[in-house]
């Protein structure tokens, strides 16, 4: 299935503004993250500490709804979903 990845701010500088990735049907958010970390090793350094723990300085939205991490790492994703990755917001 095909997932649209969008990235903003510091994560845009790692992943680019937008890309389409092909991933196995039935994948979960965690599978997608692992896939992206393989393509972009800098993403692994941004998302995980040296000891492999998930950092908390990023947000993931699935179809514009914010995921509750780490719980929602197990959320299922579907063909044509839009997944956005970005740091905490700082507008205004």
């Amino acid at each position: 299935m095909r997932i649209k990845i969008r990235a903003f701010a510091s994560f845009r500088e790692i992943l680019g503004r937008e890309m389409l990735v092909e991933i196995e049907s039935g994948s979960r958010v965690s599978d997608l993250i692992n896939h992206l970390c393989k393509i972009k090793p800098d993403l692994r350094r941004a998302l995980f500490s040296d000891t492999g723990e998930l950092r908390d300085y990023f947000i993931i939205m699935l179809n514009r709804r914010r995921l509750d991490l780490p719980k929602d790492l197990e959320a299922a994703i579907s063909d044509n979903d839009e997944v956005a990755i970005f740091p905490p917001v700082a507008g205004g």
Partner: protein, 132 residues
């Protein structure tokens, strides 16, 4: 509204000034000349930001009973002293207009997917968001 071009403050204010709303409160955020900063680059996840702004606006109307809430946010490159965000709340009574305006700018800063990068003399740096 999230826009590349300069915010027309007067137009926004005039839109809110109707004879049924005796009180209009506006918040205007300006690019502040912090030490070393030369300009600001604003980036938005525009579709998600507009959805979130719509939710915040509805919350403010529901909670405070104001008659209108308008928000305009810039994106792109901004110079020092330029307007980055405007929130205008109109209400029959002033207390509610103040509360709604403060609510909207606080929630915008906490929830709306927009980011700022400072362009300084030494290079660029993303402004760190408060909430995660």
């Amino acid at each position: 509204m999230i826009s590349d071009s300069e915010i027309d403050l007067e137009e926004l204010l005039n839109r809110s000034m109707k004879p049924d709303a005796g009180a209009v409160v506006a918040f205007v955020g300006v690019v502040r000349a912090d030490p070393g900063v030369r300009a600001l680059e604003v980036e938005a996840y525009e579709e998600a930001a507009l959805e979130e702004l719509r939710r915040i606006k509805d919350e403010a109307i529901g909670r405070f009973g104001v008659s209108s809430v308008d928000v305009a946010h810039r994106k792109g490159r901004l110079s020092l002293g330029e307007v980055i965000v405007v929130v205008v709340c109109a209400s029959a009574h002033r207390k509610e207009a103040f509360q709604a305006c403060e609510y909207v700018i606080e929630e915008l800063k906490r929830r709306v997917p927009i980011w700022k990068k400072e362009l300084t003399e030494e290079g660029e740096r993303w402004v760190r968001g408060d909430a995660c």
